[in-house]
């Protein structure tokens, strides 16, 4: 298994702004997933992108994947206070999570 490393560790923005967080990993993967964790809750699956996809959208979420650079990014557009959470990437067989990005969206 391999671990994704999220960057930055913490991000604070105003409501309505866009939030971008990045994920790097080390070995080849078939797919990469992003999860969200609200305080005191379990992780919730957000989106899965396959290795043959470069970009994927889901509502206000946009995920990119660059397999040559072994990196992915998650963009949340028009952020809301409810987006305040920790975000984790899960590359490949996703049995190991990094420390996540803690996003705070101020109203």
């Amino acid at each position: 298994s391999q671990q994704g490393e999220e960057d930055p560790q913490a991000l604070s923005i105003q409501e309505g702004e866009n939030a971008t967080m990045n994920c790097s990993y080390k070995t080849s993967i078939n797919n990469l997933q992003w999860y969200r964790q609200n305080s005191g809750r379990g992780l919730v699956h957000l989106i899965l992108i396959r290795s043959n996809e470069r970009e994927k959208h889901s509502g206000r979420l946009r995920v990119t994947l660059d397999t040559s650079k072994k990196s992915s990014s998650l963009l949340i557009t028009a952020s809301r206070a409810a987006d305040t959470a920790s975000y984790f990437c899960a590359p490949g067989n996703m049995l190991t999570f990094g420390g996540g990005t803690r996003l705070m969206v101020k109203p």
């Binding site: 797919n31 997933q33 379990g42 992780l43 899965l48 984790f88 996703m94």
Partner: protein, 119 residues
């Protein structure tokens, strides 16, 4: 469909005591995972079951932690005896298939977790 159920939600014990957590995965999910999440960190996999067999327990502290998945459905995780450093949230997750392959069947669904405080 019902989600992953975990109980209890909170548990406070003293060090050297024993504790057990219960998880009921989503119906039909063959794979079940237990994670330990220490405050401020990401979840760390403790053990993965495929039906009632263990796939990976390399990070399970076997001197004090044990887990079982009888009949390939519900699972229990036990700590005996507990240490202060075991204070964490214990998350259970399930998926249709093990975390391999390019499909969506390896998406994990998490329970709300059990918050353990060891005093």
């Amino acid at each position: 469909e019902a989600g992953v159920a975990q109980s209890p939600r909170y548990k406070i014990i003293e060090k050297r005591q024993s504790v057990a957590f219960w998880c009921n995965p989503i119906s039909g999910h063959a794979t079940l995972y237990w994670y330990q999440q220490i405050l401020g960190q990401g979840p760390k996999l403790l053990i993965q079951f495929q039906n009632n067999g263990v796939v990976d327990d390399s990070q399970l502290p076997k001197d004090r932690f044990s887990a079982e998945r009888l009949k390939g459905v519900d699972s229990t995780l036990k700590i005996q005896p507990a240490k202060l450093e075991d204070s964490a949230v214990y998350l259970c997750a399930s998926s249709l298939e093990p975390g391999a392959g390019a499909g969506t069947k390896n998406i994990q669904y998490f329970g709300a977790g059990t918050r353990l405080s060891v005093l």
